[in-house]
């Protein structure tokens, strides 16, 4: 579980706080998304959840962040990293530099956790298979394309099976099937009780898979709720978040009387198809 309680934070270099009175909770086995415009504080919030703030970045904070029973600010980073995994925004930053091959790179975190060797090999093989990077196993992590590096970064964290996994735009450089694969993998680990918080611009995948979305604007959580509500909210423009084309098309069609008036706007393919099918069958009220 991750919980922010009235958390306010300013970087050591900046005067003004970047996060203001953030209250946010993700319970075990839940998969939440965090959305917001550039500069709204998404990465700062992600780092605070994983303890990089304050432990690596310093700065001033009030309020509290807890992970399970641990107060993040009071727990040394080495103890935190066994419980919370952070996939950083730039995959290049995450390569340990300590290992020669992709397989070793992915195993590195498990080694540090002291996972028994046979178990580690099993886990590494499984995650490489699941994320379709087995063919890259013997390559150097530095000799990969941008997207391949990003998948390796996700694999390196998933393999550690942390209690809480925080990911900062882990699909930004992935091909469409790869983005879908990663988000589906995150949805699947819910079953193991893992708590997942995903910062993501890909609204369609969030609409399909996330349990709940939190909207951040200027360092404040301004809305939260089920993706179907958040992604069709009239305030989306004010929040600086786009809309899926499904939502945009249905909104426009509704103005022309071509979308059933009693139906909420859709954020997914299935929702859009159902609405337009109903309209074609004469359901316009």
């Amino acid at each position: 579980m991750i919980r922010f309680r009235d958390f306010t934070y300013a970087y050591p270099t900046g005067e003004a706080p970047v996060l203001h009175g953030v209250d946010l909770e993700v319970r075990p086995g839940r998969f939440h998304g965090l959305v917001g415009a550039s500069g709204s504080g998404k990465s700062t919030l992600a780092m605070a959840a994983a303890g990089f703030i304050p432990h690596a970045q310093g700065g001033e904070s009030t309020g509290e962040v807890t992970v399970g029973d641990l107060v993040v600010a009071d727990t040394p980073l080495p103890d935190l990293v066994t419980r919370v995994g952070l996939v950083q925004q730039d995959p290049f930053d995450q390569i340990s530099g300590a290992r020669f091959t992709v397989r070793e790179e992915i195993a590195f975190g498990c080694e540090n956790l002291g996972v028994e060797r046979g178990e580690m090999v099993r886990r590494v093989d499984e995650v490489m298979e699941r994320l379709r990077i087995a063919p890259l196993a013997d390559r150097s992590p530095y000799e990969l394309s941008g997207g391949q590096q990003q998948v390796v970064a996700v694999a390196s964290m998933l393999v550690m099976r942390p209690e809480v996994l925080v990911l900062d735009e882990p699909t930004s450089q992935l091909d469409p099937a790869g983005s879908r694969m990663v988000v589906e993998a995150l949805a699947a680990v819910r079953a193991t009780g893992m708590t997942v918080l995903l910062v993501e611009h890909g609204l369609e995948l969030l609409a399909e898979h996330a349990d709940e979305l939190h909207v951040i604007a200027d360092g404040r959580i301004v809305a939260e709720g089920p993706p179907a509500d958040i992604l069709t909210d009239p305030r989306l423009d004010a929040w600086g978040i786009g809309r899926t084309r499904f939502t945009a098309a249905a909104a426009e069609a509704r103005r022309d009387g071509l979308w059933p008036r009693s139906r909420p706007l859709p954020a997914t393919l299935d929702g859009a198809a159902a609405g337009f099918r109903a309209a074609a069958n004469g359901e316009l009220e």
Binding site: G36, A37, S38, G146, G147, Q148, G240, A249, A253, L269
Partner: protein
């Protein structure tokens, strides 16, 4: 005006990986071309051949009929601007403005002209307020737009963008779309690598699909995004509107919201 002609291009990294395995591609002056395809397909490797960062293992890359092998990177950079996938590889100055002015100065555009070009590029990318910041202190999304501004300021006839919308929010994607349209209207050639199929469908007249170091499909968005077997091979999904039209059983390949709405308004006869 600069035409690009690539013939049987093969490129092997020193590690032995064959990243390009016989690419043939012709791009006419003024075209807007999106390059899409699976991670590791060779898109970046291809893009980097256009301004000479990579040199062919075999095959040729010609600009206006001249083999790029005969031209220095300095000479190529006056013709082709390349925005790196990872801006950390591109930026080096201590302020945003210095990074953006570097290109035009280096091309000998003169103090005043360099400043004017930089101002225009900063404005277009929404970075004017950050002109005096250190690029390293910006967010990755802003830094990526500094890399874009640095290339725009060079005022080259060919602009190559490697994943320009990565990490950008809605407002920034809209800005980048406007920049692509402005470059097109000025008659420049724009080649962009992207994983955002909606952005591609909305802003590019031609789509090139790569898989395993080769071009496997090439055409308008309507043509390419209906070739499902090729798309699957390239790990690409069609744009949202095309998937919706397919789900509704329409034959007409609509790829954008305006196209979808036109077909919707036209009634069953307009949907093919």
């Amino acid at each position: 005006m600069t035409a690009i002609a690539i013939e049987d291009l093969v490129f092997r990294y020193p590690s032995g990986v064959t990243a390009l395995d016989g690419v043939d591609l012709r791009i006419d002056p003024g075209e807007t071309v999106a390059v899409i395809g699976q991670n590791g397909a060779g898109k970046t490797t291809l893009a980097r051949h256009l301004n000479g960062i990579h040199r062919p293992t075999s095959g040729t890359v010609r600009l206006d009929g001249r083999d790029t092998a005969e031209r220095s990177i300095a000479s190529l950079s006056a013709s082709v601007g390349y925005v790196f996938q990872n801006p950390a590889e591109q930026l080096f100055a201590s302020t945003v403005r210095a990074d953006v002015e570097f290109g035009p100065r280096n091309l000998g555009r003169g103090e005043e002209e360099a400043r004017r070009l930089a101002d225009r590029a900063l404005e277009a990318t929404g970075l004017t307020p950050f002109a005096d910041h250190h690029p390293y202190h910006l967010s990755p999304a802003d830094r990526k737009r500094v890399a874009l501004a640095a290339v725009l300021a060079m005022d080259t006839p060919v602009v190559v963008l490697d994943e320009p919308t990565t990490g950008q929010d809605h407002a920034a994607v809209t800005r980048i779309a406007r920049i692509v349209a402005a470059l097109r209207d000025e008659g420049r050639t724009v080649v962009a690598v992207s994983h955002d199929m909606d952005f591609v469908a909305e802003n590019f007249a031609r789509v090139v699909v790569m898989a395993q170091g080769r071009v496997i499909a090439d055409g308008t968005p309507g043509e390419v995004f209906t070739r499902s077997a090729d798309l699957e091979r390239a790990r690409v999904e069609p744009p949202q509107m095309l998937r919706l039209a397919a789900e509704l059983g329409w034959a007409r390949p609509v790829t954008t919201v305006p196209e979808f709405l036109d077909a919707l308004r036209a009634g069953p006869s307009g949907r093919g």
